[in-house]
């Protein structure tokens, strides 16, 4: 059998190596070369499953020396295999496989399909490479690669101005975060003289000696995570990113790329633990993002945007978990969220595919004709709201419990309160989407026939539905396989457990949220539209639906900067440079006019000039 050393290299590099095929030969291959993509990702998935089964008990670093820099530290490249990276690789590979199968039909009739497959292959390969990378530099390389693929895929329909603008926005906003990551790891290299993950994970305090420096680096790296995971304040790109194809949203912007930020913090968790106050920042950012995103999801009418805000909110939960010391809970929620969010997106994609609209007011009445799709969405919604026995319940409960314990130990209950209140909003917005988008008939009668999607699209949904029922039990009050599995280092504390009463509280809150949505939309016990009117409601609605004015602020800053710069440059170019050139011309004209006066036409003057010249020459000769 092939050894683990070889397998570990094949997993990320196979899709990348074969990625040139669809874009170059897609015209001749059926489905634009999609089978190549599915085959390569499938191989990577199977191999990562094998890796998971044959996991060594201690982490292993497979690396080779890549560049010999002049200093004593050569640059090594390679892959680091431990429980966490094995978990992440598997999540990425299997979910990518399901989504790619789904997109055989979903994207089947698109122009430029080869491009799609190629970009998806590079993305998946880079994501797996990111999960397995053994040095921060290599992580950064793959980090940038997945950002680039995200840009390309959001702007897949590049002729649409909204898509192009969204892709650009995504790239620029995430870039701002990337600067933080870059500065962070440069500091690690300068002060720690190493980029290797193993050094940072096993000896964080000796690699970087000064605690303030550790905190600074940790926060800078977290800024990178904020950008990629769409947390406050660098989140404005995620709702707009929904302009891309739904399969892209499913893979990149719910399950994998946005989880990269969470994975980054989790991967460097021993380092973060050794940096005082860094985790507090993480927790606050996570909690606030979770809360604000949940409110924004409640006022949106675009189905995919609701799901985008939901992603931001759930990522906030994961960051909160990491911040309060519940590393295990965070990773568990990452696993579960990947499954149920992909499920939700695939369902939304099916509706989009059939109806051609994203507006939930124009959808509806789908229960009879699109049974599988509607059931899928319902299952995903229940999981997201945290209703047992679906997987979301287990991981969310753990996070809330850890937040409570954190409040008990540190006295800071705000984190718990924020996450708890978000539960209501979460349930409310997702069931609002379900009721308005799937159950209730559309506001205008529809003329298009509605039919269920073909098996290629529904089977991945069914598989994901099954998974939501299964993965929850990996870590329940009864069984606990997950927690010991994923804690890869003795430095990581176990997730604190909370009293059972809290579980009941959060369940009640979740059901309340569902009930609110039900009574508002299904039973019309109160009119949600009325909330929007009235002075307070109007202001509030405007505040929330504009994304708390973050977008407007960023646009103003960008406009101001670019306008200011262009005004300055224009001034420089027109006044200074043109002025100089014109001035030279003008000056020469004046000079010519003066010099012309020598040509008088009078013989005497010419003679005089001669005499003067001779005299001057003689004087010069005398003097010198």
């Amino acid at each position: 059998m092939i050894g683990l050393e070889t397998i570990i290299w094949i997993i990320p590099l196979l899709p990348i190596a074969l990625s040139f095929i669809p874009i170059l030969f897609g015209g001749r291959l059926p489905k634009g070369g999609g089978h190549v993509a599915i085959a390569s990702i499938g191989v990577s998935a199977i191999l990562s499953g094998i890796v998971l089964l044959r996991l060594p008990s201690t982490p292993v670093d497979y690396s080779v020396t890549w560049l010999l820099t002049g200093s004593a530290i050569p640059l090594r490249v390679g892959f680091y295999l431990d429980h966490l990276s094995a978990l992440m690789v598997n999540i990425t590979a299997w979910i990518a496989l399901l989504i790619l199968i789904y997109s055989l039909e979903y994207m089947g009739h698109e122009e430029g399909l080869g491009r799609y497959w190629t970009e998806m292959m590079i993305f998946t390969g880079s994501m797996m490479g990111f999960a397995l990378a053994d040095s921060i530099l290599l992580m950064y390389v793959f980090w940038e690669l997945i950002g680039a693929c995200s840009y390309l895929l959001i702007g897949f329909w590049y002729t649409l101005p909204e898509a192009a603008a969204a892709a650009k926005k995504a790239f620029v906003v995430v870039r701002v975060g990337d600067v933080g990551f870059f500065v962070g790891f440069v500091l690690i290299y300068l002060y720690g003289h190493t980029l290797s993950l193993q050094a940072l994970l096993t000896q964080p305090t000796t690699t970087i000696v000064s605690p303030t420096l550790r905190t600074t680096i940790a926060i800078l790296i977290f800024v990178g995570a904020i950008g990629k995971s769409a947390q406050l304040p660098l989140y404005t790109w995620l709702p707009d990113a929904m302009e891309g194809p739904t399969t892209v949203s499913a893979l990149i912007h719910s399950a994998t790329m946005v989880a990269a930020g969470v994975y980054l913090v989790a991967r460097l968790y021993p380092f973060f633990l050794a940096a005082p106050h860094a985790l507090t920042v993480v927790a606050w950012v996570g909690a606030l993002s979770a809360f604000l995103a949940a409110t924004m999801g409640l006022v949106s009418t675009d189905l995919k945007r609701i799901l985008a805000y939901s992603t931001m909110s759930q990522l906030g939960y994961m960051m909160t978990a990491l911040g309060v010391g519940a590393y295990g809970a965070a990773m568990f929620h990452l696993l579960n969220h990947a499954i149920f969010k992909a499920l939700l997106f695939l369902s939304a994609g099916a509706v989009l595919h059939v109806l051609g609209t994203r507006d939930i007011r124009q959808m509806g009445g789908l229960l009879r004709q699109m049974k599988i799709t509607s059931t899928a969405f319902l299952v995903g919604a229940l999981s997201l709201s945290g209703i047992p026995p679906f997987n979301g319940f287990f991981s969310k409960d753990l996070i809330l419990g850890a937040a409570y314990e954190y409040g008990a130990t540190s006295g800071n209950y705000y984190i718990y309160v924020l996450t708890l209140v978000s539960v209501i909003f979460t349930a409310a917005y997702i069931f609002r989407a379900f009721f308005v988008g799937y159950v209730l008939p559309p506001t205008q009668p529809r003329d298009k026939p509605v039919h269920e999607v073909p098996a290629v699209m529904s089977i991945p949904m069914i598989i994901l539905m099954a998974l939501t029922l299964i993965t929850g039990w990996l870590w329940s009050p009864i069984t606990n396989i997950f927690q010991p599995f994923v804690a890869y280092s003795p430095l990581i504390p176990p997730t604190p457990t909370a009293p059972i009463a809290l579980t009941a509280v959060s369940l009640i809150f979740a059901i309340t949220g569902i009930g609110l949505a039900y009574s508002g939309y299904m039973r019309s016990l109160f009119d949600p539209a009325r909330l929007r009117q009235g002075a307070v409601g109007l202001r509030l609605h405007k505040l929330v639906s504009s994304g708390y004015y973050f977008d407007a602020a960023y646009a103003a800053v960008a406009k101001g900067l670019s306008q200011g710069l262009s005004l300055a440059l224009d001034f420089f170019d027109r006044r200074l440079i043109d002025g100089a050139v014109n001035g030279v011309g003008y000056g020469l004209t004046l000079l010519g006019r003066r010099v012309r006066t020598v040509e008088t036409g009078r013989v005497r003057n010419y003679l005089a000039i001669m005499v003067v010249g001779i005299v001057l020459i003689v004087i010069l000769v005398e003097v010198l």
Binding site: G601, R602, V603, L607
Partner: protein, 100 residues
């Protein structure tokens, strides 16, 4: 004893007087007369050097110079006469253009 320098001073008087009169005369004939003064200054120099060194070349050059000056004076006057015929004036300040 008269030094060579004093002869050269005489030549200098003639030379600068000639230059000045060439520059400040409006009459063309007067200009020509000034040019003759300049020639004479040169001749005095030649003879002075011949007298000092005893070489005959100084004198022969002076003779050649005189003959050339005479020829040039004749041609100059011819030109001035033509100028007078064409421009109806010999005022050099008024003769500014080649067309005529």
């Amino acid at each position: 004893m008269i030094t060579l320098g004093e002869i050269v001073a005489l030549s200098g008087i003639l030379f600068s007087g000639g230059v000045y009169s060439v520059l400040t005369s409006r009459n063309a004939v007067r200009m020509l007369m000034g040019i003759e003064l300049i020639f004479n200054a040169a001749n005095v120099n030649f003879v002075a050097y011949a007298s000092t060194t005893g070489l005959a070349e100084g004198l022969s050059l002076a003779i050649i110079s005189i003959s050339i000056a005479a020829a040039e004076a004749a041609i100059g006057i011819a030109i001035v006469l033509l100028l007078d015929k064409l421009f109806k004036t010999v005022d050099v300040d008024k003769i500014k253009e080649l067309k005529g």
